[in-house]
C-alpha cells in the first residue's frame, strides 16, 4: 500500500523515548497560574477578584468576542493575585493565580455526562465554547470557531491530526493508545457539529502502537478511517497533512475550509470527548516532559502548572540543562527561567543539553540548496534570508515570504548554521510593516 | 594666485588622476598598455589633444551656445586628433600602426570630453591649459604604470628592453585582454585601498 506524503521535509531524529510510557498524573501544584489568554483571539476579562474562593471548573475569565474562548480554574481554592506574570513567549501576560486548597471541589455548574445523540450541532458548539476548548496541537485556535465555518464553504470531511511530527513529544500518541474511546467520542461530536460523514485520522506508520490501537476501535465506526503517512517532518503541518490525505493544496492566504476540510488535533477531540463524559470544562490535558530530566514521561497536567513545579515532580535535571523548550525542539519556545505557567495550548516541554542546543559555528551561505529541498512550502529560504538581511521588501514579497509556515525545516538542515527561521520572521515583519504603512 | 595654478596643474597627476581616480578613458587604457612604449606615446598624444582642445574651448566658451556645446566640442577635439594622426603617420609610422584605431578613438576619449565640459567651458585659458597638461600627463603616467606590469610579466621586457632573464616564464595572458582587465582592476584596487586608508587616518 503506497503511503501518502508531501514534497520536501526533513528527517530529524525522532527521540520518542517516552512513546511507551503510560500517562501518569502530574502532581497538582500549590499554585496554579491561569493566563487570561490561552487561545488565538481576544483575551478574556476576569470574572473574579483577589480573595475570591473558586471551585474547580469554574469559569474565571469571560470571552466576549466571537474568536475567543473562556478560561476556567483548574483547581479549587482562593484567588491569590491577578496581574502580569512571565509567559511562555517571553512576554508578560495577564493571569489569575489561585492557591490550591487540595479539595478539588467541582463547580456547581458542572452538569455531568452529556449524551451526544440528544445534542444538535449548535448544542455541541456551545458546549465546546463554554468548556473553553481550543486547539491542543499548540496553535490554540478556539475550537467552537473552527466548528463554525462560513456559510458559503462546504465542508466535506474532518481530518484529525495524529501525526505529532516533533521529536520528543509523545502526548498525542498516548492519547491515541490509551484514551481511544474518549477521542473517538470527540471525533463523532465534531463530525456532527460540522455535518460531515467522513473523518480521517492521519498517523505516521512509525507511531508505535497507534495504528494497532485504532484499528480495532475503528472497525465498528462508520465513516472514520485511518490514513497511514510517511514519517517525515513537518507532516503535522496543517497544509501538508491536508495535501497528503486529500491531494488538495490550501490556496495561499486561504484556510482549510477553502478546500472543504477542517483539521483538528486528536488531543482536541479527546478534550471534547472528556467534556461530554464528565461535563468538566478544559482544565487539564496530557503533556510530555522529555529530554534531559530524571524521569521523563507523559502526564495529565492541570492547566496553569508551572514548569518549575513539573521539574520537581520529574526528579530534576539530568546534567546541566542547556535549553528548556516549551513545545517541540523544532518550533518551540526557549525559556529564560522556569517560573512560567503552562497553558491549554502547550503540549509539554523538552530539556536539551548544552551540546544539543548550541547553535554551532555560523559560516557564510554556501548555496548548497538543502533548504530549497527541505521547504514543504516550496520557497527558496536562502534567497529570502538575503532579502530579509537587506530589508528588501520587494524581493521578499515577490518570493512569497508570507507563505512561510515557520516549520524550521530550512534552519534545521542548513550546514552553515544560518538562523534561517529568524530571518524569515524578520522578513515577514518588514513586509507587514510596509503594508501597514501603505494602508495609511 | 600661484597656488591655484599649481593646484590645477598637479590635480590631474595624482589627486584626480583621470584613469585611477576619475576612472575615465579605460578603453584605450586596456588596449594600449600591453607595452610601456605604447602607453607613453598614447599619453603624449592625449596630452597634446587635451591641452589644445581645452585652450580653444576655453577661448570660445562664451561664444558656444549651451544647447549645441557637445557637437562643437567634438568638432574641436576631432580637429586636433586629425592633426596628431597625420603627424604620427608621417614621422612615427611604426607606432602609428601599433596604436592603430585607438588614435582616431581619442576623439571620444571620455577624459577629453569630460574636461571640456567640466573645466574648460567654465575657466579661463591659462587654467584650462594647465588642466589639460596635468590631466594628460597624469593619464600618461597611469598608462605607463599599468603597462609596466603587463609588459614585464607578459613579455619580459620594459620599453622594449629585456629585463627578465631568459628562463622567465612569461604569462601570455598579461598582454591579452583578460590580463589588461586584471591588471587595471588590481591597480585600481590597490590605489583605492591606500586612498581609503588615508581618508580614515
Amino acid at each position: 500500500m503506497r503511503l501518502k506524503t508531501f514534497r520536501g521535509g526533513i528527517h530529524p531524529p525522532k527521540n520518542k523515548f517516552t512513546a511507551l510510557d503510560a500517562i501518569r498524573p502530574m502532581t497538582v501544584p500549590q499554585l496554579v497560574v491561569i493566563p487570561l489568554q490561552q487561545h488565538v483571539g481576544a483575551p478574556c476579562q476576569p470574572l473574579v477578584k483577589v480573595g475570591d474562593l473558586v471551585k474547580m471548573g469554574q469559569k474565571i475569565g469571560e470571552a466576549k468576542a466571537f474568536v475567543s474562548a473562556p478560561v476556567h480554574a483548574s483547581v479549587s481554592g482562593k484567588v491569590k493575585a491577578i496581574g502580569l506574570v512571565d509567559g511562555t513567549l517571553g512576554k508578560k501576560i495577564m493571569a489569575i493565580t489561585i492557591e490550591n486548597d487540595y479539595q478539588d471541589t467541582p463547580d456547581e455548574s458542572i452538569s455531568g455526562q452529556k449524551n451526544l445523540d440528544n445534542m444538535t450541532p449548535d448544542d455541541i458548539r456551545n458546549m465546546v465554547r463554554e468548556a473553553g476548548i481550543v486547539g491542543l496541537g499548540g496553535a490554540g485556535f478556539p475550537t467552537s470557531v473552527k466548528l463554525s465555518p462560513p456559510a458559503d464553504k462546504k465542508i466535506e470531511m474532518l481530518i484529525m491530526n495524529g501525526v505529532e511530527c516533533e521529536p520528543y513529544l509523545t502526548c498525542d500518541q498516548r492519547v491515541i493508545i490509551e484514551e481511544t474511546d474518549t477521542m473517538i467520542l470527540g471525533i463523532r461530536a465534531m463530525m456532527k457539529a460540522l455535518g460531515v460523514n467522513h473523518a480521517y485520522i492521519g498517523i505516521k506508520i512509525t507511531m508505535e502502537g497507534a495504528i494497532e490501537a485504532l484499528h480495532e476501535k475503528i472497525l465498528n465506526e462508520k465513516g472514520i478511517d485511518v490514513v497511514p503517512l510517511v514519517p517525515k517532518y513537518p507532516q503535522g503541518e496543517e497544509r501538508q497533512l491536508i495535501y497528503a490525505v486529500t491531494g488538495r493544496e490550501v490556496p495561499s492566504g486561504g484556510l482549510p475550509h477553502d478546500v472543504g476540510v477542517v483539521v483538528a488535533n486528536v488531543a482536541t477531540a479527546w478534550a471534547i470527548g472528556r467534556t461530554l463524559q464528565t461535563g468538566m470544562p478544559l482544565i487539564e490535558r496530557i503533556m510530555t516532559v522529555g529530554g534531559a530530566v530524571q524521569n521523563p514521561g507523559n502526564f495529565t497536567v492541570r492547566v496553569g502548572t508551572k514548569i518549575e513545579d513539573m521539574m520537581m515532580a520529574v526528579g530534576g535535571y539530568s546534567g546541566t540543562p542547556g535549553s528548556i523548550i516549551v513545545g517541540g525542539p523544532l518550533t518551540g519556545f526557549a525559556q529564560f527561567h522556569t517560573n512560567i505557567p503552562l497553558t491549554k495550548q502547550n503540549n509539554g516541554f523538552v530539556v536539551l543539553t548544552k551540546e544539543q542546543a548550541e547553535p554551532g559555528e555560523m559560516t557564510d551561505c554556501i548555496h548548497c540548496g538543502l533548504c530549497v529541498q527541505a521547504c514543504p512550502c516550496r520557497l527558496v529560504p536562502h534567497q529570502l534570508s538575503k532579502y530579509a538581511k537587506n530589508g528588501d521588501t520587494a524581493g521578499l514579497e515577490q518570493f512569497n515570504i508570507l507563505d512561510c509556515r515557520e516549520c524550521s525545516s530550512c534552519a534545521y538542515v542548513c550546514p552553515a548554521k544560518i538562523p534561517l527561521l529568524h530571518y524569515m520572521r524578520v522578513g515577514k515583519n518588514y513586509v507587514m510593516a510596509k503594508r501597514a504603512e501603505q494602508k495609511k | 594666485m600661484n597656488n591655484k595654478y599649481l593646484k590645477t596643474l598637479t590635480n590631474g597627476l595624482v589627486t584626480e588622476n583621470p584613469l585611477f581616480r576619475l576612472v575615465l578613458g579605460t578603453c584605450p587604457s586596456l588596449a594600449v598598455t600591453s607595452a610601456v612604449e605604447n602607453g607613453f606615446w598614447m599619453g603624449i598624444l592625449v596630452t597634446f589633444v587635451l591641452t589644445c582642445s581645452n585652450v580653444l574651448i576655453s577661448m570660445l566658451r562664451k561664444v558656444i551656445p549651451a544647447k549645441i556645446r557637445i557637437p562643437c566640442f567634438i568638432v574641436i577635439i576631432a580637429t586636433f586628433v586629425t592633426i596628431v594622426d597625420l603627424v604620427m603617420e608621417a614621422y612615427l609610422p611604426a607606432m602609428h600602426k601599433t596604436l592603430g584605431i585607438f588614435i582616431p578613438l581619442i576623439v571620444v576619449n571620455c577624459i577629453i570630453l569630460a574636461r571640456a565640459e567640466s573645466f574648460a567651458s567654465k575657466n579661463n585659458v591659462v587654467l584650462s591649459a594647465l588642466d589639460g597638461v596635468g590631466m594628460g600627463l597624469g593619464f600618461m603616467g597611469a598608462l605607463m604604470i599599468v603597462a609596466t606590469f603587463r609588459e614585464i610579466l607578459g613579455n619580459g621586457t620594459f620599453f622594449g628592453f629585456h629585463v627578465m632573464g631568459e628562463g622567465f616564464p612569461v604569462a601570455k595572458i598579461m598582454v591579452q585582454a583578460p590580463g589588461a582587465f586584471l591588471t587595471l582592476g588590481l591597480v585600481l584596487g590597490a590605489i583605492n585601498l591606500v586612498a581609503n586608508h588615508k581618508k580614515a587616518a
Binding site: 526533513i10 530529524p12 497544509r239 495535501y243 493544496e249 490556496p251 495561499s252 492566504g253 486561504g254 518549575e308 546541566t320 540543562p321 542547556g322 535549553s323 523548550i325 525542539p329 523544532l330 518550533t331 519556545f333 526557549a334 529564560f336 527561567h337 522556569t338 517560573n339 548544552k354 544539543q356 542546543a357 547553535p359 554551532g360 559560516t363 551561505c365 554556501i366 548555496h367 540548496g369 538543502l370 530549497v372 512550502c377 516550496r378 527558496v380 518570493f399 512569497n400 507563505d403 524550521s408 534552519a411 534545521y412 538542515v413 550546514p415 552553515a416 538562523p419 527561521l421 529568524h422 520572521r425 | 616564464p169 604569462a171 601570455k172 595572458i173 598579461m174 590580463g179 586584471l182 588590481l186
Partner: protein, 315 residues
C-alpha cells in the same frame, strides 16, 4: 535553581549534524581515490603538485584574511578543496610553481575579491585553470603517458587531430581505468566514479547535475560522433568530463539551487562541451563550458523558482 544560564534562541533548537566543514572535507575524501590514481600513474611529482596547490591556496586565504582584518576561515576546508581540485587539473610535467600561481589567483581573485565563501561567481579552481591555460599555454599541455612519463597526446588531442583510425586511439577500458595521458586527477574515470557515487549516497551532491551533464555528452557524442555508441563512451571517458561533471559542475555556489535549474544547468554544460569538442578549435571543452554555465547559473535559478505551495493560478 534559577541561576542557570539557559540558551535562548529562535527555533529550531536542534540542528542537523551536517556542517560546512564536514561537507568540504567529505568532498576531499571522495577525491582521494582519483588523487591516489594520479600519484600511482604519474609518480611523486603529482603528489607534489597537489600538496603545493593546497598549501598555496590555504596560505593565500590566511594571509589575505589577516591583511584585510577579516575572520580567518581556512579551517572550513573550502580552500583545501579548491587547492586540491586545481592540483588535480594540472599536467604532471608542468612546472611546480604553476599550481602555486593558480591557487593564489583562485583564492585571492576569484574567491576573496568577490566576497569570500559563497560569493564566487565562477568555480575558482576552474577559473584558475583557464587563466593558467591562457598565460602559459605551452606548459599546460605537456601531457605524458602514465607510469613511464613519455610525452604524449591526450585521447582528445588525437581525436581532434582527425585521426579516425581506432588503432591510435586508446582502448575504452584503458580510458576507464586511467591508463592515458591527461591531468593528474582526470584520467581515471573509475576512481572518480567511486568518489562520485559516495557523494551522491551521502546526499552531498545532487545527482541531477552529473546525470544531466554526462547523459547529454553521451547522447550527443553518440549522435554526432563517427562511431555511434562507441563515440559516446569515448567522450564520456576522455578528457575532464568525469571530474568536471562530478566535482566541478556540482560546486554549490556556482550552480543553481533549484531542481529544474540543475537539470538545465547540467544539460547546458554537456551541450557546450560537445560543441567545443566537435566544432570548436580546442580539443577539450569542459573548463569553458562549466565556466560559461557558472555565469548564467543565477539567471537559471531565477527562472526556475518552484511554484509555491498553494499557489493560486491567476485566471
Amino acid at each position: 535553581m534559577d541561576e542557570m544560564k539557559l540558551i535562548v534562541q529562535a527555533p529550531p533548537h536542534i540542528r542537523s549534524p551536517l556542517t560546512t566543514k564536514k561537507i568540504m572535507f567529505t568532498v576531499v575524501l571522495a577525491l582521494i581515490p582519483a588523487a591516489s590514481a594520479g600519484v600511482v600513474f604519474f609518480g611523486m611529482r603529482a603528489l607534489l603538485h597537489m600538496v603545493l596547490s593546497i598549501a598555496a591556496a590555504v596560505l593565500t586565504e590566511f594571509v589575505l584574511q589577516r591583511l584585510l582584518r577579516k575572520k580567518v576561515t581556512i579551517a572550513d576546508g573550502s580552500a583545501v578543496l579548491t587547492g586540491l581540485l586545481l592540483g588535480m587539473n594540472l599536467p604532471v610535467a608542468a612546472p611546480l610553481w604553476i599550481g602555486v600561481v593558480g591557487s593564489i589567483f583562485a583564492i585571492s581573485i576569484v574567491k576573496q575579491a568577490f566576497g569570500g565563501l559563497g560569493q564566487n561567481f565562477m568555480n575558482p579552481a576552474l577559473a584558475a585553470r583557464a587563466m593558467l591555460m591562457a598565460a602559459w599555454p605551452n606548459q599546460m599541455v605537456q601531457w605524458v603517458t602514465p607510469l613511464d612519463a613519455i610525452a604524449t597526446a591526450t585521447p582528445l588531442a588525437i581525436a581532434k587531430a582527425g585521426i579516425p583510425d581506432t588503432a591510435t586511439l586508446p582502448l575504452l577500458w584503458d580510458m576507464f581505468i586511467g591508463f592515458i595521458g591527461g591531468s593528474i586527477g582526470e584520467t581515471s574515470a573509475l576512481a572518480l566514479l567511486v568518489g562520485g557515487i559516495y557523494l551522491i549516497y551521502k546526499e552531498l551532491i545532487d545527482y541531477r547535475i552529473p546525470l544531466a551533464y554526462l547523459g547529454t555528452v553521451f547522447i550527443l557524442a553518440s549522435i554526432f560522433g563517427a562511431d555511434g555508441l562507441n563515440s559516446g563512451l569515448f567522450h564520456l571517458l576522455a578528457g575532464g568530463v568525469m571530474i568536471g561533471a562530478i566535482f566541478m559542475a556540482t560546486d554549490y555556489v556556482t550552480s543553481p539551487s533549484t531542481a529544474t535549474g540543475r537539470w538545465i544547468y547540467g544539460i547546458g554544460c554537456g551541450l557546450i562541451t560537445i560543441m567545443i569538442r566537435f566544432w570548436g578549435s580546442y580539443p577539450e571543452g569542459v573548463s569553458f563550458s562549466i565556466l560559461l554555465m557558472n555565469i548564467v547559473a543565477p539567471l537559471i535559478e531565477r527562472f526556475t523558482i518552484p511554484r509555491k505551495f498553494g499557489e493560486v493560478k491567476k485566471k
